[in-house]
Symmetry: D2
Subunit: 340 residues, 4 copies
């Protein structure tokens, strides 16, 4: 039973914490938080132990009359591994604390690749994290891209890939986004291509990214030149049989990310989470040796299973396929069609 | 066991259908739909029988290879009561069909008040629908307003009320809204004040309404002149003990409708539904004989319980308080604080 | 000829600078800026002298190869008066610099009232700034509210006023706003009521405010109890004849703030600026001694003329009516109908 | 002097009408409108004669007390050429009317290509419209794409192009858009690639399109494989010297479409119109034989000059380069940098 702590209890932290509660080979010792907001109360009501993220934060909790279990140092002293889910660039500030405690650590994709020994995506390179001490689970966009390109690359072969990422401006709960406009990333290629290469080094890829005023999901338009002749049917068949990718159809009314989220609400997903890549079957096409794919990435949920698999690989708990299967069963993650 | 059909399976229809499935004194016979979209497949997978809304719609289902149970006439022949959840102004077109079938009928707030014998809100006028044949459940905004004003009026007395309704432009799944702007209703007072009076006739009220570019919830700013002296504490106490109203606190980070929805997601509400009025405790204030209240109305969910109570009243199944309590328990509806 | 500098060259700064260029009794000596962005180039191309806002900022300009005229100290040494248009709460940091230079100063509404000797609105209290050294031009929302309430109060008499302010989340050029939600101000009453009283102390007013995801204009719904009987026609007549308020009509298709902006674009307003309050004639109504008014406030432009009038009053250049008339003619500001 | 009428006075119609007023070789006889909204009053106040678009519309104008000059038949009887700017798919309904009147006609890109003898873009195929009777000015997106690809193709040679179009959901004045979501076009390739080929047939192109919740501008991410080796500098040099394309820089703060519009406002463009393609110089890059370009298309303004040039070509008024130059001078259209 691996003892795990979660630093941060925001969008990613709360999801990882809940996945830990559901996983029978891991034990959630507690979470650290900076502020005594409503989610601290919810955590406590679920039996999750809350620690102040720092001495300074402790004061906030005391002022609010919220009883914590101690500070992050107290949490670290009880765990084998800490999953850092702090906002981007904050993980690197926390790292010395984790090193001092001598625990294994997982960082998220908001940190630079060099924070860890390996950048991780379960399907693409599970084995590279085997027994490692410091692992970085790549960002939501890179995770989605990794899943799709990994399956195409290993089944067909990718000569080159070009992707345009259309990014959501902020998460639904936030209030700091682009309101009316489109904001292209000025650096070309964007960091997403190189980031994909930290996980799958041998794919030639160029990426462009723009930010748009929506909070629900990212959307990728992916153009892939294949290494060998492939039909649309073959491509769909591969996608359909790849874990953590689901197919939806525009002619069933699922024509936009907001409708995909409506589907997730209708089927009773907790928080309408879609840890799967959601690909429009209608848009999949093959022409002159290139494949065209359009899919959505639920930025809030997609890395939840990856963190669980990373813990298993780092602690040599079980091999890749077994871990992925177990995670998917635990979290209700599927592939192929959601209905029909 | 009252046999019920639901005409329409959109935002309201699917929620009413699910509430019927959960209610042990009612039986859902089936739903009618116009198009074979994904929700038709989901309905079938839940064991809900799907009927084509018309002969013309039947062709759509046939073309799509979706097997329906018949047309709405077939549905009507098996039910005691039909809940019409068609888009606004469509219910009145369906009415002759229902009359011919000799069934009781419930319409929604998108229809004019004169379509029914009584306009209904469970807490405000349950008894007026007792044994009636045609009832109109008032709109989401009027339902929210009715709950709040009814409890204040019956506990303190309302001398006059003024409300500014800040309306969401369309539902999350839709794509036909105001994108960047504010659109005031040109008619003053807006129809909401008079609509409230169809449920609670003896409150003097003026309403103004504007539409804003959001999809999540409506928000009301309500100004009430009391008939007798009241303190902030008394007002909060009344609100806290009123069914179907919950209190949230800005100082717990719940400072906007998008954060309230995040809370609903976090506590595991199906589709993040909040059939309760959500009032900010921080904003409740009393000054010079006036009370000021700010609350949010989840337009997708708020009328779900009202439809169930209307069915009970129309069929004399049980008295008001008993019905409301039963509905709340069935649907997990609460009041007061959600945590703490 | 009053020599004026403008600290800051953002939304307000650039508009005040241009108004100064057009005013024949004032001379724009220069503007200070923190960054060498495109607007620095545009300023230079119009012959406006650019100064670095601080020594540290100077480095930015040097790095970018943009030649400035010096720092703000150099600017201050040449002027009689500085108009501070820094972002909210920054003006108070700049104040010691201005005091040291011994210049008159104008701050904007983002600063607290106690930064200045008087809070200013041209129509409401021009004379109170007469000969003063430090004046604060109130915020866009308070300016709009002041204009409307001042004319009603002085023509009819206001017994009490209640206003709900529906605020734009950020300016069009910004990228840090609320994207999908409504965010009520938790403090009740909001600061806008008391702020109105810094300009017109004898109006009893309560205000509530919410933020919505739009960038174009604020919108106020104003409820006024009159001191004496008034008809809708009298109210419209007063409004129509008040400077800096224009009337538009929903039945001409001008049904929302985005359509009002379209009108401003069509009539060739520079930057589609509407320094006037824009009131919907359709919505003006009078009932039971209360008046109901709905109007939009163009947050980017409305304080432009107020700054010019403040300069005149502080320097005793000319009396109120003369100054307002001159400003309006200089800037093309009108009242009544824009066409017909 | 070519006598021209404009059918429709919306987004495109009003801009074409104003361009006609400024062009000394054309005479605007009048415009047709369906409703007596504010723009009818503005037209009249500018001396533009307004005709009812149909007999039925005539009644609307009469009811509103707005005096029109007659119906569209009266307008057609006085003109040599009609520019149809009706909403998409309406032009084809109007065509018989124009044929009966025996006038030349221009349609917009909302109509199918086969409505006209030639699909037109001034820079790409001016000469093909020479003396023609029926011409279709391609849509805003195809116009932008044509300008960019035409100059690259004629200067370097395009082996293949791939473009992802990120489309605004509706125009600023409209209220019927996508509010929170991303909506990919389900058909792949989208119609934009084939539409580009109606103007430049010999470019191999695939296009994908998505709709996003913004009203200001479209944005294209264009990937071009060159026929011969080209450097970034050469590519920038070509772009810089192409008419109707301007370059902006992210490091000057122009990092998004909303900031580009702010620039257009600041430089005093009427209605902040940018008939030019606006390309980010920062994003232009060349790698492994491919060029990457990101540019914005102002959907409201970009076809204004194209309509004028089409009139000249159809009436053999002057040769291509002369016409484009004259149009640009008349309308203030530039290329290269806007400042520096």
């Amino acid at each position: 039973m691996i003892k795990v702590g979660v630093a941060g209890y925001g969008t990613i932290g709360k999801r990882v914490a809940e996945a830990l509660l559901k996983s029978d080979d891991m034990q959630l010792i507690g979470v650290s938080k900076t502020t005594p907001d409503y989610s601290a109360y919810l955590a406590k009501s679920k039996g999750v132990k809350v620690y102040a993220h720092s001495k300074a934060d402790l004061t906030n909790f005391e002022k609010a009359g919220f009883k914590v279990e101690g500070t992050i140092e107290d949490l670290l002293s009880q765990v084998d591994l800490i999953v850092d889910t702090s906002p981007g660039k904050k993980g690197v500030e926390n790292k010395p604390l984790y090193e001092e405690a001598g625990v294994k650590m997982i960082f998220q994709g908001g940190e630079k690749a060099n924070i860890a020994e390996v950048s991780f995506n379960a399907q693409a390179n599970f084995d590279q994290a085997w027994g490692k001490k410091i692992v970085r689970v790549v960002s939501c966009n890179t995770t989605g891209l990794s899943r799709v390109l990994h399956t195409i690359h290993s089944n067909i072969g990718v000569k080159q890939a070009k992707v345009v990422l259309i990014r959501r401006t902020c998460d639904p709960k936030e209030s700091k986004g682009l309101v009316n406009g489109i904001q292209p990333e000025m650096k070309m290629p964007s960091h997403h291509g190189p980031d994909l290469n930290t996980v799958i080094p041998d794919i030639k890829i160029e990426s462009l990214a723009v930010v748009v005023p929506t909070t629900l999901m990212h959307l990728h338009t992916l153009l892939v030149e294949f290494k060998k002749e492939t039909s649309r049917e073959q491509l769909i068949d591969i996608i359909k049989n790849t874990r953590r990718i689901i197919l939806v159809n525009g002619d069933h009314g699922l024509t936009s990310t907001n409708r995909v989220i409506e589907l997730a609400r209708d089927i009773g997903r907790l928080r309408y989470d879609l840890p799967e890549v959601v690909m429009w079957e209608d848009t999949i096409s093959v022409k002159d040796g290139w494949g065209y794919l359009v899919y959505a990435v639920h930025q809030e949920a997609i890395v939840q299973p990856e963190n669980i698999d990373a813990i298993r690989s780092m602690n040599k708990l079980m091999p890749k396929e077994e871990s992925i299967k177990k995670t998917d069963e635990t979290l209700g993650i599927v592939n192929g069609y959601l209905y029909k």
